[in-house]
């Protein structure tokens, strides 16, 4: 039995006095390769993992509770803090869910700008993934290159909304701002740079012997496992399913865009790496198509739904009724219809779902945030045993988990 006192707290899951030869290693929650506050309790036989227990909750902020105590517009900036690497995708998922609940649609230009931001954010997220994953595995220089290009993308984000990490650039019913002048030209320049650079990253890694040794046949997620654990995003596509919500159950303007869904049949980390690289190219393809679409679109940015959404600023300044409506919406919040919606979007990490149950009051009755990384972390329990200790960082890095959205 453990002798418990204040200096030696009780560790559940850990048995210090064991008769067999296994060693228990506590990995995290402050491990730099854990990509956040992940605590893994590993049982090792030599260097081989026999049992892994992922433990989470070190970043739990109670977002679902906050969602039930905040008006819909108040909650939107909170969603940024879920997957803080790609916050636009969270904003968008939430805005889309509320829009579906209200039964309104964002104007076309707003939808185009949102899609631009989403895809730019996907690139930012994938570059971040590549940089940190490669760093974990031991490729230092790729980290510097990928972060350099990510900086350009973040500058574009900053030019649009002023924020670099937590954008809140999407509103319920549209977007608050039009693109600044010359933004599209800058975007084209960025795409031109990045498309060359992605080839260079691949040149550094794809056939690199060390990279392949570290990734090939490591972290094999079988198709059954992927389905059973509710995997989504690249974790699912890496297991041979060509499933991307943007293509299979399109939302927004994705049905008008031409892009492919990369997938891998190898089920291992290397296959998933290739998917990520290809996805960046597909995102660039989407962005290229969006620029002419943007130029052709009408200038309206917010949906016209006076019951739920404030009038444009010039109306608020000039018309009494718009001002009154705005005041009510800001102080009391919108009152959506009674009902429930589950809206899933494809975030860079996987299927990001917002389940909102509304009872007709300005506060959601229930807000369930389906964060893809949550189950990708749970999966570690099944995925890690049988691997070497050194593969743990490869697998954690490769699954692209972000603790903001796991603990919410």
């Amino acid at each position: 039995m453990q002798q418990v006192n204040r200096l030696k707290p009780f560790f559940e899951n850990i048995n210090f006095e064991r008769e067999d030869n296994t060693m228990v290693v506590n990995f995290g929650p402050q491990h730099p390769s854990a990509h956040g506050q992940l605590r893994l309790i590993l049982e090792l036989q030599g260097e081989e993992i026999v049992k892994a227990v992922p433990t989470i909750g070190y970043l739990h902020r109670g977002m679902e509770k906050m969602g039930e105590n905040m008006m819909y517009n108040e909650f939107l900036p909170t969603t940024d803090r879920m997957d803080y690497i790609a916050s636009t995708s969270n904003n968008y998922g939430f805005a889309l869910a509320v829009e579906q609940l209200l039964g309104i649609e964002a104007p076309r230009r707003a939808e185009i700008i949102r899609t631009m931001l989403l895809e730019l954010n996907r690139i930012i997220s994938h570059l971040f993934w590549l940089a940190t994953h490669a760093l974990d595995v031991g490729a230092m220089s790729i980290f510097l290159y990928a972060f350099r290009e990510r900086e350009f993308a973040m500058d574009l984000m900053e030019d649009y909304c002023g924020a670099r990490l937590t954008h809140s650039a999407v509103r319920i019913g549209g977007v608050p701002l039009d693109l600044p002048p010359n933004w599209c030209e800058d975007l084209s320049k960025f795409i031109a740079i990045l498309s060359e650079e992605v080839d260079k990253y691949e040149g550094l890694l794809t056939q690199n012997r060390i990279w392949r040794m570290r990734l090939e046949n490591v972290g094999i997620i079988t198709p059954e496992m992927a389905k059973s654990w509710g995997c989504s995003g690249v974790a699912l596509r890496g297991s041979g399913f060509q499933w991307d919500l943007r293509k299979e159950m399109p939302y927004g303007i994705y049905s008008e865009l031409d892009f492919d869904i990369p997938y891998a049949k190898t089920c291992d980390s290397y296959g998933r790496y290739k998917c990520y690289m290809q996805e960046m190219r597909e995102s660039m393809k989407i962005l290229k198509q969006l620029i002419p679409m943007y130029e052709k679109s009408e200038p309206q940015l917010m949906a016209h739904a006076p019951e739920y959404i404030s009038a444009p600023k010039e109306n608020i300044m000039t018309q009494n009724y718009s001002l009154m409506q705005h005041f009510v919406l800001v102080t009391q919040g919108m009152r959506p219809p009674k009902g429930e919606v589950y809206v899933a979007t494809e975030s860079p990490k996987g299927e990001l779902g917002y389940m909102i149950v509304s009872d007709g009051t300005p506060y959601a009755y229930k807000m369930k945030l389906r964060a893809p990384s949550f189950w990708h972390t749970g999966l570690l329990e099944d995925l890690l045993p049988g691997h070497q200790l050194a593969d743990v960082v490869t697998i954690i890095g490769n699954l692209n988990i972000v603790f903001g959205e796991i603990d919410r």
Binding site: K65, G103, S228, F241, K338, G353, G378
Partner: protein
């Protein structure tokens, strides 16, 4: 007369409700309008009692009896190819209906359809685990237990997942206040310093927006600065802090003062931007 509001729901409520506001509902469609769902529902009805079924925003919602949940989910997976479970959780209706509504959000990748299976359980009733069908339920059910206190039968490791193991009460229940209850205030004090230190330390302030103007160790008073940790309670609060205030010894970096000392009486405030 004031409208009735349940006393065991402490979540934030709107401060004003228009008596004449009629709350609309999200339109529900008949299952007849969707062929795929209609076929699925007919097959499903042959095996299980369906309390209600309707289409809401493109989702088929089926309400079943709670005792059938495991069999129904298994049937949907194996026979009707709803091969992924995306989400499951509970909705707290203790105040109005004395129980929880459990929902299972499922996806069929071959049919491109989403379905939501719902069932209702009493507050103390137990629910069968669907972990044997979908492994994702392992963590989801733990989260549901952690947040709502819904007991799940046949779960191999039903313990808290996000909250500490010894946490009191279930945070997502409507009876649980946003900033935590009485026990939550003492949790960290008890854990780190022990119960005997309660009086010396005091409860944890769990309101993130709380400001104490007399607390000079944790709060800066812009424009009214006082030295760090000085007691300013009971009339010791300075009436005016000169702008030239600098910490004792001056703001120095390697012995060199980096900010020129400001004399308030000699300074001029500009009326217009230059």
């Amino acid at each position: 007369m004031r409208a009735y509001s349940p006393k065991n729901d402490v979540q934030k409520k709107s401060y004003y409700n228009d008596r004449f506001h009629v709350v609309p509902s999200v339109p529900r469609a008949d299952v007849q309008t969707d062929e795929v769902f209609l076929n699925d529902l007919t097959t499903f009805k042959e095996k299980f009692t369906v309390l209600d079924a309707y289409l809401e925003k493109g989702h088929l919602v089926i309400i079943i009896e709670a005792k059938n949940n495991l069999k129904a989910v298994k049937f949907l997976k194996e026979k009707l190819s709803y091969d992924m479970m995306m989400e499951l959780s509970a909705i707290d209706y203790i105040a109005s209906r004395q129980g929880f509504e459990i929902f299972y959000e499922m996806l069929s990748m071959s049919k491109h359809k989403r379905i939501r299976v719902k069932c209702f359980i009493e507050e103390k009733e137990e629910l069968s685990s669907v972990e044997s069908v979908f492994k994702m339920a392992n963590w989801s059910e733990r989260e549901m237990y952690d947040m709502y206190g819904v007991k799940v039968k046949n779960h191999h490791n039903l313990k808290r997942i996000l909250m500490p193991d010894d946490w009191y009460d279930y945070p997502l229940r409507k009876t649980y206040p946003l900033q935590g209850d009485e026990t939550a205030q003492w949790y960290e004090v008890d854990k780190i310093f022990g119960k005997e230190a309660r009086e010396a330390i005091g409860p944890e302030i769990r309101d993130g927006a709380a400001i104490d103007r007399y607390d000079t160790t944790r709060f800066a008073r812009l424009g009214h600065e006082v030295p760090y940790g000085v007691d300013i309670t009971n009339g010791k609060e300075p009436e005016h802090t000169p702008l030239a205030y600098q910490e004792e010894g001056g703001v120095g970096l390697f012995g060199v003062r980096i900010i020129k000392e400001l004399h308030e009486d000699k300074s001029v405030q500009l009326k217009k931007r230059r």
